[in-house]
């Protein structure tokens, strides 16, 4: 065969070969889902059984390192769920026991049906189409994006079957097509202090992963997958619809969940595993128990590789670290375990003990939109097969999601209404912890000379949306997805770092610890947090909170101008070669400006060319001010906030001014630009002519 035919056939054969390989892999994946050989049914189930008639909430402590319950337990969920890995559905029964601690009779109960969000006319999708979601664009609707959560029947013990009474409600936007909240009027009101038990049969159909829930290939993440009762909060039911930019809110309690899955699946879930039994139909049932948690998530995949021999000796007892990794990421398992352990150490030492017996870290299916999510004692990380050591994205994600065990998991704020209290406070502690572990300026990147720190990136997120929304705003009322993210995460982190500068790092650390210890296992409000800061610091900080949290004021200080000239300038001879007289007295002025509408006292440091320094304090009330000096030296530079305490200043570049320009940084950056431009021209010429 002549060489030219070899060369022509090579691409064609390559295409065919690649197609065959792809098909083969797909076939293997399908085969791995096929039922395995029958397993022995020798295990004994230890999980709580359905249909318990005792109307009480258990005071079990099986899943926590505490001899007594740590939360005021309102709910007890007993769920028996069967997962169909082919149809991606769950058929389940749920027994929910509710303890009425509201102090008043309850005549109706709203339930979240979160999976109904994944339907074309839901509020979630309508908002997502305009604002975008974190992972789905909804350019066109595909059937695999459909999810649902249907209550087949609901019985209230002692009141009979009330299925026909269920009514979808839309408390937030009145969208009649939204079915994410259903209300159940009671035949008889539940008195204060009383118990009520619901027996629900439901079916959930997962979409291909959206909003960190659903299936991808042979993987599934079961998040927000069962009917969940709303929270009675401040004298009313708080049960919001599922929005494109919102998360969740639920009461603490006990979870007993039995998951029946194909026997080849590797399963991970919230809480502690209490039993596993192999069924005759090539399926297995795995039972989990959770104490003092307010949600339950699980995952299954036939390909997880598991590391569960790591134990962290916590302040309240040992914590088993269970890590489920993708096979292609197994080389990173130590890296994941290390950051998880270091996060545990830092949180326990700085904020308070981690009371649970387990923490499960899941490395979800690649490209699954399931990475970076938190559930009680269960988090998902995010990485890829190629992850250089100096790029700390896996560390950032694991630390962040672990932090949610504190700010969401235990301090269970309302994520619909105060998203900043979990995401923002968590972003602040993320900066602190990662700074401590990886270095202030290298906490994201430290690779071949390039560096990046987390705090600058948080401020960068906020800077682009600084004048759009206040922090104190419902998650679904933000102008856009970028605004939600920039303000909820970036601005809140920057705001708290600035607050640390105002009250001192030690005081802030103490306030955070007090806040955690006081409000763990409760649902604090924003004022609970702010008052704690004020109490611990002993300062009235309303001037700051009103602008930074309740207002949308933008903080931006600028050194406007620096000028020095000889006092006796009119006597001086004009000569190019005249040497400067060391005894010449200069009149120097520094102008500083408050560009934004956020008023805050600020320090100014003026440096002179004889090495002298002056510190000034400005209250920032007027739009600008000027400081003038007469010295035997000229001003070399002026810098606002020289100690870098004001992280919320949206532009740090204009906070300083040097009398003499230094063109080096611009030349360096321009050189990159020039290189790219030249290379682009060369590449174009290479291929086009």
């Amino acid at each position: 065969m002549k060489i030219r035919w070899v060369i022509v056939l090579f691409p064609l054969l390559s295409v065919v070969l690649i197609s065959v390989l792809v098909q083969e892999h797909a076939a293997k994946a399908a085969a791995s889902q096929a039922p395995a050989a029958p397993a022995s049914a020798s295990s004994v189930m230890a999980a709580g059984s359905n249909g318990s008639a005792s109307l009480t909430i258990p005071d079990t402590t099986l899943a926590i390192n505490s001899p007594r319950p740590m939360s005021q337990r309102v709910v007890h969920y007993e769920i028996d769920a069967k997962y169909d890995a082919t149809r991606h559905t769950v058929d389940a029964t749920e027994v929910l026991t509710y303890h009425n601690l509201t102090g008043q009779a309850l005549d109706h109960f709203p339930f979240h049906l979160y999976q109904n969000a994944f339907q074309p006319n839901s509020t979630f999708v309508r908002e997502g189409k305009i604002l975008g979601t974190r992972d789905t664009r909804y350019d066109k609707w595909e059937e695999k994006e459909f999810g649902s959560e249907d209550i087949k029947s609901i019985e209230v013990v002692g009141q009979g079957d009330l299925t026909s009474q269920l009514k979808f409600i839309q408390p937030d936007d009145g969208n009649k097509d939204d079915k994410t909240v259903v209300d159940l009027p009671m035949a008889r009101a539940i008195p204060p202090g009383g118990y009520v038990q619901f027996k629900i049969a439901f079916q959930t159909k997962f979409p291909e992963t959206q909003a960190r829930s659903g299936w991808k290939r042979d993987f599934v993440l079961g998040g927000q997958w069962f009917p969940k009762v709303g929270v009675w909060w401040h004298g009313a039911w708080n049960c919001h619809q599922y929005h494109a930019m919102s998360e969740f809110f639920a009461d603490f309690g006990v979870y007993d969940v039995k998951l029946t899955v194909p026997s080849y699946e590797v399963v991970g879930a919230s809480g502690v595993k209490v039993g596993e039994v192999n069924n005759p139909d090539n399926r297995k049932t795995v039972a989990y128990h959770g104490d003092d948690i307010h949600d339950f998530a699980w995952t299954a995949s036939p390909r997880y590789k598991v590391k569960d021999d790591g134990v962290y000796q916590g302040q309240m007892g040992p914590v088993q670290m269970r890590i489920l990794m993708q096979p292609a990421h197994w080389s990173q398992v130590e890296r994941h375990e290390k950051i998880l352990k270091e996060s545990l150490e830092h949180f326990e030492s700085w904020y308070g003990p981690y009371p649970y017996k387990t923490i499960t870290l899941v490395d979800p299916e690649p490209d699954s939109a399931a990475g970076g999510m938190e559930y009680p004692t269960f988090i998902t990380g995010e990485t890829s097969w190629f992850m250089p050591d100096g790029f700390y994205m896996p560390e950032l994600v694991v630390e962040h999601e672990f932090g949610h065990q504190y700010w969401y998991g235990m301090v269970a704020t309302n994520e619909f209404e105060d998203a900043w209290m979990d995401e923002g406070i968590n972003s602040y502690t993320e900066v602190k912890v990662l700074d401590s572990i990886l270095g202030k300026r290298t906490s994201i990147l430290n690779l071949v000379g390039a560096t990046a720190g987390e705090r600058e990136l948080q401020r960068g997120d906020y800077a682009s949306v600084a004048d759009l929304d206040p922090i104190a705003q419902k998650a679904y009322d933000y102008y856009s997805g970028n605004s939600y993210a920039g303000v909820t995460y970036g601005k809140t982190a920057s705001m708290l770092l600035t607050l640390e500068g105002i009250i001192g790092e030690d005081t802030m650390a103490k306030a955070m610890r007090v806040y955690f210890m006081k409000y763990r296992f409760t649902h604090p409000t924003k004022e609970d947090f702010l008052k704690t800061i004020e109490e611990v610091s002993g300062k009235n900080l309303r001037w700051y909170f009103d602008q930074a949290i309740y207002g949308s004021q933008v903080l931006d200080y600028k050194v406007l101008r620096v000028d020095s000239y000889p006092v006796n300038w009119y006597e001086q001879k004009r000569s190019l070669f005249q040497k400067e007289d060391k005894n010449t007295v200069y009149r120097s002025s520094v102008w500083i400006q408050r560009k934004g509408d956020f008023v805050m006292p600020v320090e100014l440091e003026v440096k002179f060319d004889n090495g002298g320094k002056v510190r000034e304090h400005w209250d920032g009330v007027s739009r600008w001010t000027k400081f003038t000096y007469e010295k035997k030296a000229k001003v070399e530079s002026a810098e606002l906030d020289p100690d870098h305490k004001i992280q919320i200043d949206r532009n740090d570049f204009n906070n300083s001014y040097t009398a003499e320009p230094d063109g080096k940084p611009a030349r360096k950056v321009t050189n990159y630009w020039l290189f790219v431009t030249q290379w682009l021209g060369q590449a174009l010429a290479w291929w086009a002519v």
């Binding site: 720190g453 611009a666 002519v689």
Partner: protein
């Protein structure tokens, strides 16, 4: 010596004999890019020259500070700077179109091509090159679109696999295939360009046909040479970037400029080497022999030399005094 070596060494000798072309194109590339980067440079100087924070860009490479700079509304959008960069890249491309015939003529010459001959070749072939460019654009664009489409389909298929690495492998394999096919097309039109210039071919389609025939008949030899040269280019780029990252101190802007510009200068060589290969191939295989009419020379009458007086070899004896 096999054929490839002949082409490679022949092409290389043409490049080294005509180094001035590379230098001139480098200067042109640099000058146009400087103009293209001027808007960005002004933006950067205005924003960074008086700020203490910008020092973090010099003493190391703080990506977070760079991102913050681009995020600031005061820095302004880089749309205008990007657009001018692209425009000047296009200008460089057009300059290559304009001056390439002169380069090919110079490579084919056994002597240093005079300046007027260089520009004459450029002017004479400009319109032919534009026509060639249009045909090449259509052919290469259509093939590239088809291959990229197929590549996309395979990538989507690979995404369904539970083997995470498969997507990467498919991507790399696909890009290699696309590179080989596009290189073959590039050879075709490079041969056509050489034919247009060196045969002074007015009918461009004839050169395109000849280029295709020769590319097809000698694909292995030509593609081998092109691939080797591309690998050299890739090594040069990686070596340049490696040196930039590993040996240039972060604060030394002058060293960074030197290394980056040296890399770009060296990166120009491989493409000119490919041109040299094509000219060598053309001269070896495509140049048509000049037809010589056999003719019988008219008989030339023998020259009848006039009688030459015989000069005595020894001087006549002189009489004694």
């Amino acid at each position: 010596m096999n054929g490839n070596e002949g082409l490679l060494s022949g092409g290389w000798s043409r490049v080294t004999r005509n180094k001035r072309y590379i230098v001139w194109f480098y200067i042109l590339n640099l000058a146009l890019a400087c103009l293209g980067a001027a808007a960005f440079s002004n933006q950067a100087h205005d924003y960074l020259d008086h700020s203490l924070l910008s020092g973090r860009l010099v003493h190391g490479f703080d990506v977070a500070v760079l991102i913050e700079m681009f995020a600031q509304p005061e820095f302004g959008t880089t749309d205008a700077a990007r657009a001018s960069g692209v425009h000047f890249a296009l200008l460089f491309f057009l300059a290559i179109v304009l001056f390439l015939p002169g380069v090919l003529q110079g490579y084919a010459s056994t002597y240093r091509l005079p300046r007027e001959d260089f520009f004459r070749a450029c002017g004479r072939n400009l319109w032919r090159f534009i026509r060639l460019l249009i045909v090449a654009g259509i052919v290469m664009g259509a093939v590239a679109a088809a291959l990229l489409g197929l590549h996309g389909v395979l990538e989507r298929k690979a995404l369904d696999s539970t083997n995470e690495l498969l997507l990467f492998e498919v991507r790399v394999a696909g890009l290699v295939v696309i590179f080989l096919v596009m290189s073959a097309l590039r050879i075709w039109f490079d041969l056509a360009e050489a034919d247009v210039v060196l045969s002074d071919q007015r009918v461009v389609r004839k050169s395109i046909g000849a280029g295709f025939r020769h590319m097809w008949r000698n694909l292995g030899r030509l593609l081998g040479a092109y691939v080797v040269i591309t690998i050299v280019a890739a090594i040069l780029l990686l070596a340049g970037l490696g040196a930039w990252m590993n040996f240039v101190p972060p604060a030394s802007v002058a060293s960074a400029i030197f290394v980056s510009q040296l890399t770009l200068l060296l990166l120009l060589i491989p493409r000119f080497w490919q041109r040299g290969v094509v000219v060598t191939y053309y001269l070896q295989n495509m140049v048509e022999p000049i037809a010589v009419q056999p003719s019988t020379p008219a008989p030339v009458p023998p020259l009848v030399a006039p009688p030459v007086p015989v000069i005595p070899s020894t001087p006549p004896e002189t009489e004694g005094v």
